[in-house]
Symmetry: C2
Subunit: 569 residues, 2 copies
């Protein structure tokens, strides 16, 4: 008997072992403190006031801890969902307005609903929809866009748009508005963060042990943030024209009913929400399944869909924008010793503390520092290594990478992703568009039939036997049709065509219509179409269709039966 | 030696047989006269003045006659390209302006360039990209949109938008502006045209022979057009507030250099142009290849791409909008006896005559009649029969039909088409996402290895042998990975894993990375990964990659070799 309590309390909590408590608490606090600068920055990247980054790390995180598939994945605002939010909302609302924040939550709610529905429909296999090349190309293109978009906080130039050309053209317009002090702060912060990240081998490891160096590297952005706040207060950067984030409103995110502006606009957001849901699912699953394998746990894609779905859905009611599992925050969580989702709940406590007690402390922080933080962390997402290996190891996937990457830069995020997907599907279809179709003959005295080009076989002048070596679908039915017609031209005397279907596992509508057309064409020439060895599942599909009802010939169980019935000697 | 003349003059013209001349001339004239009402109407549907329909039937038709792949296909303005033009240009220019007409030609030029480039790259196989369900669903959805969009000419309500909801919301706004006489003309014309088309069995065949009835049916729209012009003159419809097409400017289309408004807008049109090129190619190829088969000719998809490409490209310089091969005009052409593209050149003469001599005669024609003509002819494109058969014969293709159809109605043409394509690819991936992975053992005393569940085979406690029965790609590598890990859990004692790769024909980057990850995971557990029977083309791909370089085990030529080297008894 499952009591309501049992159903409401997640397994990890019911089976919680107190031994895990200290490390869970420490890990959660560490993640919470370390991701504050990022969270503020991603909200800004999404076109929202910084405080929304903290909001997005509260309700969705609690819901994911309760219902998610992974014990250690840390969800929250991430770079890709932030920039997708900004580019999706560009046509509908102006950044910084109340209306915009409501639309961002509506988008999270739509994304969450789609993910949840996908989970209920058990569409976990959709994860396999995006090839390595497409996802790496998309993320790299998005990273370049993010990098450039952040330049506005270093230069004070209002860069806007949804593609590289949009950015570059606005940059040109305002190029004389540079604010020297802001630029100086941004450039120094960026240089220090990059040195910390990519030079940590030389910088920290000369003084520290390997594991201390790792923590020094991780803590450095937070220390820099503290220094920047102190400097900003001491030197009155605000008064000197440096944009600072200003007072963060005190208090927790409020419950807000979704605001649907007009049904047509909401519908137009839906395809965008679909693409965001796909990206959120694919990237979060990749994090969650990696750590599940490392920890010897099972990864359940459908539960991940449900967890992410309800996290975003509920977030949409509490001023959150779309969230996903983050690779870096999950890595910190695991390295700090997290064992269960309790760590994530600790992270939430840190966010709540920041919102209630430290909100005014953050006011002097310059936007330039947030921009530099994002720019330094985003460089790692530009994945030249995957492009290189794709190009060496699988040209077609390399082409998908380039299509997604260039597509994102030129046409923006959504169109770029769709272009990348199209190229990856096109290459898939191209690979199976030319299946092997062999003319076969009988191995004398046996019931075996083999390719006439490779074996010494018996043929019959009135019979043409073709073996089709692939499932038939829209991607190859036209070329199979052409091959069959060519073979018939080669053997004009053959009036009985036998298609050996032993290797055909599926047959779709396009292929069925192709075979129907073939049947009619043969009938006009007074020839007959026969099948042999149709597999059970294929026969189930075509049994009651016109293809079989109007077939000019017969369906035979084996090729031997067909030959015995039809051969003329 | 190929002289320049030989290269410039197409084969059909060099080998022209005078015997074909009479029927070619007659067919061309018949098609020309019959398609005038449609051509005017499609231009209006595309958002252009009616005369552009005649322009679009001149230069592209000449170029296609010269370079196209089909001897009998009649190209020209068609319903789908017209509505795609209108919906693509909606955000960029206002219908009826000079700017709009220039953008429409620019779009034709872009579509033509893409088709031509695809032809040079020999991408003819792309035709197989769209399944029967997706194309039928897309065309049906477009037909519904076209039908509703034409209501504006019957009601005088300015319906605009790019999706059903857009149409319905503008209709609602203006619902009181009905013009009774216009509505009466439109409804009567529509009723007569529908009766003519779908009632011809009862109407014409009671008096006429079957072939005369066919011609009566085809001529009827033209006769109705003539009657409408006469009535309009006699009853001064113009003065009574019925919108008429007015004077058609005299003269041929002019040479116009493409007008590129701004590089960002032109780039935004490019993905739309890509989708239009795909649709034009797929629908024209379907017409051309059907007639090529009926006439015993070969269909060359790459030449069709080049021909369509240059037809649209050159049309873009002569005030044309995008054209494609049309099913109904090709059928009339063939039925009237056309044998060569000379017939199409005759069609062009008719258009030129209409532009020079009869331009003022068309002035009194009411728009309502053009709207009714299009509405009556578009009904046939709503393809419920295909949906039915798809649903009965291939659920997944039925789902693609519905996705494309509903997508077009709700989100507009481009997004709807992309959604339909995504669903059809998703179903493809779903089908191959769960490949067969069998645990095998040795048939005692032989070198054969078979499924342990089906055969009585010998196994070795330290060996796990898995046969993968499908090519590995992004669509199934995650599930193959999971199956392999499950099998390893089932046999914890097996420290040597042998993957039998005999059925793996391709391996993409995603799958290579999956196997690399597997190799590392096994190494952590002190287990080794081995391969046997890697096919030549697969080995060529992975030979110099980290997968082989860092492999913890060995690559064996045969499974027997692997077993002999590794077994512990």
């Amino acid at each position: 008997m499952t009591s309501i309590a049992t159903r409401l309390i997640p397994t990890w909590l019911r089976q919680y072992q107190l031994a895990a408590l200290p490390t869970d608490v420490i890990a959660g606090l560490v993640v919470g403190v370390l991701v504050i600068p990022q969270s503020l920055g991603y909200a800004v990247l999404a076109g929202l006031p910084p405080v929304y980054g903290l909001y997005a790390a509260i309700v969705p995180v609690i819901v994911y801890a309760w219902l998610g598939s992974s014990n250690v994945q840390a969800v929250g605002p991430v770079a890709i969902t932030a920039i997708m939010t900004a580019s999706s909302l560009l046509p509908y609302a102006e950044q910084g307005t109340e209306q915009y924040a409501l639309m961002a939550s509506l988008l999270a709610l739509m994304v969450g609903s789609l993910l949840w529905i996908a989970g209920r429909l058990k569409l976990g296999w959709i994860m396999q929809f995006i090839s390595r090349g497409v996802s790496a190309g998309f993320v790299s293109g998005a990273a370049v866009l993010i990098f450039i978009s952040q330049l506005k906080y270093l230069t004070d130039i209002p860069i806007a748009g949804s593609s590289l050309i949009g950015y570059l053209s606005t940059m040109q317009l305002y190029a004389r508005q540079l604010h020297p002090l802001t630029l100086l702060i941004g450039v120094i912060a960026f240089a220090l963060l990059v040195a910390n990240r990519y030079g940590s081998k030389w910088v920290w490891r000369t003084w520290l042990s390997s594991s201390s160096a790792k923590w020094a590297e991780r803590l450095f952005p937070l220390i820099l943030l503290g220094i920047a706040i102190l400097l900003s207060m001491a030197l009155h950067w605000d008064a000197r024209g440096v944009a600072t984030i200003g007072n963060i409103p005190q208090g927790l995110p409020r419950f807000t009913l979704p605001h649907i502006p007009d049904i047509q606009e909401a519908l137009k957001l839906l395809p965008t929400a679909g693409l965001m849901a796909l990206i959120i699912f694919v990237s979060s699953s990749s994090v969650a399944s990696t750590y599940a394998r490392l920890r010897g746990e099972k990864f359940d894609a459908n539960r991940e869909l449900t967890g992410l779905g309800l996290a975003n859905l509920s977030g949409g009611f509490f001023q959150s924008f779309a969230v996903a599992g983050g690779f870096s925050r999950t890595a910190i969580n695991v390295d700090s010793g997290a064992k269960t989702p309790l760590a994530s709940l600790m992270t939430v406590l840190v966010m709540i503390a920041a919102l209630i007690a430290f909100n005014s402390a953050l006011a002097p922080l310059p936007y330039a520092l947030l921009g530099a933080t994002i720019m330094a962390s985003i460089i790692g997402l530009i994945d030249i290594a995957t492009l290189k290996s794709a190009w060496q190891r699988d040209r077609l996937d390399g082409a998908s990478f380039i299509a997604a990457f260039v597509g994102v830069l030129i046409f923006g995020l959504n169109t770029g992703l769709v272009i990348g997907l199209m190229v990856s599907f096109a290459s898939l279809i191209w690979q199976s568009s030319q299946p092997h179709v062999a003319i076969v003959g009988q191995l004398a005295g046996t019931g075996h039939f083999r390719n006439i080009n490779r074996h010494d076989v018996v043929t019959f002048h009135n019979l043409l036997m073709l073996r089709i070596d692939e499932s038939l679908f829209f991607g190859n039915s036209e070329s199979v049709h052409r091959r069959i017609l060519n073979a018939l031209q080669q053997y004009p005397e053959a009036h009985e065509l036998i298609l050996i279907m032993a290797a055909v596992n599926h047959i779709d509508l396009t292929a069925q219509e192709m075979l129907s057309t073939l049947n009619q064409e043969l009938a006009l020439q007074n020839k007959h179409l026969h099948f042999s060895f149709i597999k059970g599942p294929v026969m189930d599909v075509i049994e009651h269709t016109p293809l079989i009802a109007e077939l000019s010939g017969q369906v035979y169980l084996s090729t031997m039966d067909a030959v015995n019935a039809l051969k003329q000697i």
